[in-house]
Symmetry: C2
Subunit: 211 residues, 2 copies
């Protein structure tokens, strides 16, 4: 399984985010246009990344929870390869995102924020082609009880991403416990003195833990 | 209790949305900048409405589910009087939106989409100063099992809004059952041949039902 590093970009201007992505593009297999960029600047943010990185896999973190077809359309047509839909939202919305992604041959990620194990199990069975994201949110990291990413159910046979506060000190144990395909990393790279070096170090830690 | 009509604007360009709001401003006590406008155009949409309607109460339907302080900041500072936060999301995010709204003397609405009665009861007790929104989402209306808005718990003593597919034919029974303070109406006004007349008729139906 190839290890995918998704560089999550949030709380930046579009220009700052582009610059950060340019600086660490060799370690960013996927680039995430964060929810804050989308809500602050709209689809202009996705278009700017598509233009700057014609070949990169781009995930637009739309956090869709209603109006699925419309949101999928604007994000995919702006250049996103993947969008996100909230697992804690209505089932019909997840269904519609999945259908829209399949129609377009695109990827969709189900964000498991605030879902219970039984709900996760059901999502796992219903959407075999989704990417699932075990997510410790920003607010939980910064203001809540910071729990390490963990899962009460098995994700074997599914594409799994982990997100939220991943650091060089914790990535190894996350790798050994969860064996994710996709590592979604923001601050540990973007707030480092040297983001590219930080990303390289994180990847080394994950690779060593996989061996 | 004053009856508040919130005109919900979605799936429009900013210019179309402004035009629609101008056409029915006398019946629109609150104007909602819909999630689709925010995700498509960013805070530019909120700024444009603040500029065009300096005196109107504006709700930015941010559907916040993480990054609460940041999203509250950009939306309130762009001119929103109210934002929304998802009741099905993490408790810490709702707490942070509530705190941020109180600090700024602004309004916050908790969207009850996909919450269970026990969760609603807890939110009701925890956030006495919130506006609560019983919400049949677009996807549920257009693609799911369309259930009329109903509530298993009492909202007496709380500010209550209802949203989702409200029509002239259904508004009276919603009024009699739920006695909401705020009616969030989109399509029944914006898709009418004469939006202003449609809004007037909806209000008459609600007022008659209250008497």
């Amino acid at each position: 399984m190839t290890m995918i590093f998704q560089l999550a970009l949030d709380r930046f201007s579009i220009e700052e985010a582009l610059q950060m992505a340019r600086n660490c593009q060799e370690e960013a297999d996927w680039i995430e246009i964060g929810t804050s960029l989308i809500k602050e600047f709209g689809m202009e943010s996705v278009l700017a990344f598509r233009e700057a990185f014609p070949q990169k896999f781009l995930l637009a973190d739309t956090k869709t929870i209603d109006n699925a077809i419309y949101e999928a359309k604007i994000a995919y047509e702006a250049g996103a390869d993947a969008i996100t839909v909230m697992g804690c939202g209505p089932a019909v919305t997840i269904d519609l995102v999945a259908e829209e992604a399949r129609k377009r041959g695109k990827t969709y990620m189900i964000d498991l924020l605030n879902t219970k194990p039984a709900e996760q199990q059901k999502l796992r069975e219903t959407f075999p082609d989704a990417v699932f994201c075990l997510h410790t949110s920003k607010d939980m990291q910064e203001h809540g009880n910071h729990e390490a990413n963990a899962s009460a159910i098995s994700w074997q046979g599914r594409r799994l991403a982990i997100a939220g506060g991943i650091q060089a000190e914790t990535i190894g144990s996350l790798t050994r416990t969860l064996h994710p395909e996709i590592y979604i990393i923001g601050g540990a790279i973007t707030k480092a003195d040297n983001p590219l070096v930080a990303a390289q170090r994180l990847r080394q830690c994950a690779v060593s833990a996989e061996e």
